[in-house]
């Protein structure tokens, strides 16, 4: 039971952070399909940062530095998407897809280069990130995730920045007419998603294992987060709820074989892995008529067009 709770918390935090990142990008009007790639890059740089920390650094220093590194790496990578889709008006889905493909290839090249061998497997110590509270193992990303959730809500709904960001996603022409810099707002949206995606990638990789083979990237977690975002209707607390739902099934996939009652059901790991995707398709089918997707998402903003 504690195992289930542990995994559910772990995946909830990951999916929620990345989905919140996607939310910021999409509420500003940019479809961010590159979340998967951003996670890979963030995770990779985070892991490398842990390794590069001088021996004897305090746990707090390691956590802060590596998480910051992951966030910055994610932002830089997301800036490539922002540049292509905001400055050059490129197709956002295509740009995002290219970045996903680039991320996995680049991560393997960097990981192998860093290892100096033909293996893309990096090893690290996740000791500083994990705490024992009673019988439950939690990781530091749980706290980061809760802070990010609350901050996201406040930023999006209670600040001027949030209001402007949302305006750019719904009706950029109207936003522009009252003096809001649409390009800047969209950059901010994409960069926030990069930072959250980067941290999310690290949160996915580090707490559960102490080595990661970058050949598999983050095995679809970014796409799952995309589904979480839609499931959560682009709203922070609903995204949190959706993340719990998705995480529960993802954890069941991991541990079903070790729980006798569930093993008796005879369901395979693949079936549990499939359920969140099928569930989100069903929900999408029923809610599509009143979908709250940002109206202007996916459309490049051109000052000149009316």
């Amino acid at each position: 039971m504690f195992l289930l709770l542990k995994y559910t918390l772990l995946y909830t935090v990951v999916l929620m952070m990345v989905a919140l990142g996607g939310m910021f990008s999409e509420r500003s009007g940019i479809i961010n399909i590159a979340l998967e790639g951003i996670m890979v890059i963030g995770g990779l740089i985070g892991v490398i940062a842990i390794q590069l920390m001088p021996a004897g650094s305090s746990a707090a220093a390691i956590v802060i530095c590596s998480v910051l590194a992951a966030a910055v790496a994610g932002m830089l990578y997301a800036a490539l998407l922002a540049f292509a889709s905001i400055n050059l008006g490129a197709d956002q889905t295509i740009g995002g897809t290219a970045l996903n493909m680039l991320a996995t290839a680049l991560a393997m090249v960097i990981a192998k280069g860093f290892n100096g061998s033909a293996s893309a497997k990096l090893e690290y110590s996740n000791r500083p990130f994990v705490y024992e509270i009673g019988p439950l193992t939690v990781n530091v990303f749980l706290f980061i995730g809760i802070v990010i959730l609350i901050l996201s809500y406040i930023v999006l709904y209670k600040t001027r920045l949030g209001l402007r960001l949302r305006a750019c996603g719904e009706h950029p022409q109207a936003a522009d007419s009252v003096g809001i810099n649409v390009y800047k707002m969209r950059y901010i949206g994409v960069l926030i998603s990069g930072a959250l995606g980067g941290i999310g990638g690290m949160a996915y990789i580090i707490p559960s294992v102490s080595s990661w083979n970058f050949e598999v990237g983050v095995s679809g977690a970014g796409f799952l987060a995309l589904a979480v975002m839609i499931f959560g209707q682009w709203k922070p607390f609903r995204i949190c709820f959706a993340a719990v739902f998705f995480a529960l099934f993802k954890s069941l996939a991991n541990i079903a074989s070790s729980i006798p009652a569930m093993a008796a059901l005879g369901w395979t790991q693949n079936m549990y892995n499939m359920i969140p995707f099928i569930a989100s398709m069903i929900i999408l089918a029923f809610t599509s008529k009143k979908s709250r997707a940002p109206k202007a998402e996916g459309i490049p903003y051109d000052k000149g067009s009316r």
Partner: protein, 379 residues
Amino acid sequence: MDNKKTSLGGRLASSEAFLSVAASLICIVIGLLLGVIVLAIINAEHAIGDGLLVILQSGIKSPRNMGTVLANAAPLIMTGLSVGFAFKTGLFNIGAAGQYTLGAFGALYCAIVLQLPWYLCLLAAMVLGAIWGAIPGFFKAYMNINEVITSIMFNWIGLYMVNDIMYGKGQSPMYDLATTKTYSLRKVAQDAMIPSCGMSDHFGKLQSVTIAIFIAILFAVIVYVVLNKTTFGYELKACGFNKNAAQYAGINDKRNIILSMTIAGALAGVGAGLYYLSTVAEWNPQVSTALPAIGFNGISAALLACSNPIGTIFSSLFISYITVGGTKLSTQYYTKEIADVITALIIYLCAFSMLFRSKIRALLAGKTRRTGLGKGGND
């Protein structure tokens, strides 16, 4: 003489085909240059001789390498056609990977379990791919859900489902415990192998060189004809350009969305059939936690070719060529994924191809205007 040249420039500036090819070539050149920079960062000394030149030359160095390029290009052409066809009709088929997965299942099931001949296996691959393509089309047409989201979901559903069936807890009739992959067709189902017709003798006895490449080219020609020479193709494209206008003109847009996704799915499914029935590799249902790369590389092939079916043949050959080049990199200095980095960079640049096009057009048209003025003075 001079006049002739400039009028050529003017004609080129207004030729969409020329602009597309030029823009793609620019993408390739810049992509390769960036690739050299990556190579230089990793190991500056060997960047050209052991890096770039290996990538660019290996594909034609030996008949065997050429065979590998062809064997890998055939399925890539199909997924490229799949994505390109959908693009032409205004849809983004990111689900080619999932349709390809289903196609692989169809082909391998018919081959290993049912022991059917290769053309029926290929047909099964096509049908399963078509079904997996039709689903997102249906969601798009009747529930107005973006096909990108649906395709991504069904990619993963398809992958988990196929892996589950093919592995079957190790009991599946398709799963070979000795190799931890599906059974090799060369051993258990030779009838299901696409015939080589003597092709492999020309390519260093490489068994996976089959007539698959010709099948793929045939499909490219068919897709070209359907899109450009038939009313059906015109209707599909009209829906892509402007759904409302097409509706107004009496075209059934819902039917067309489903049809074009179905056809796109069928093409991707055939791609998987060509790959697995040519015995390039076997499916590994246990480690496949990632979707097949050929599905996503199809997006690259389509973009590089500006979705032109005939262009897709060449872009697929090119991508296959540099991928094979990447595998020949000396592991002492570099890893083979550098080729993937270069391909991905080229695709990222393809997102800018509109910008490149307008720059080339301005460059060529600018020249014409200047000399055109002079000519006007003479007249």
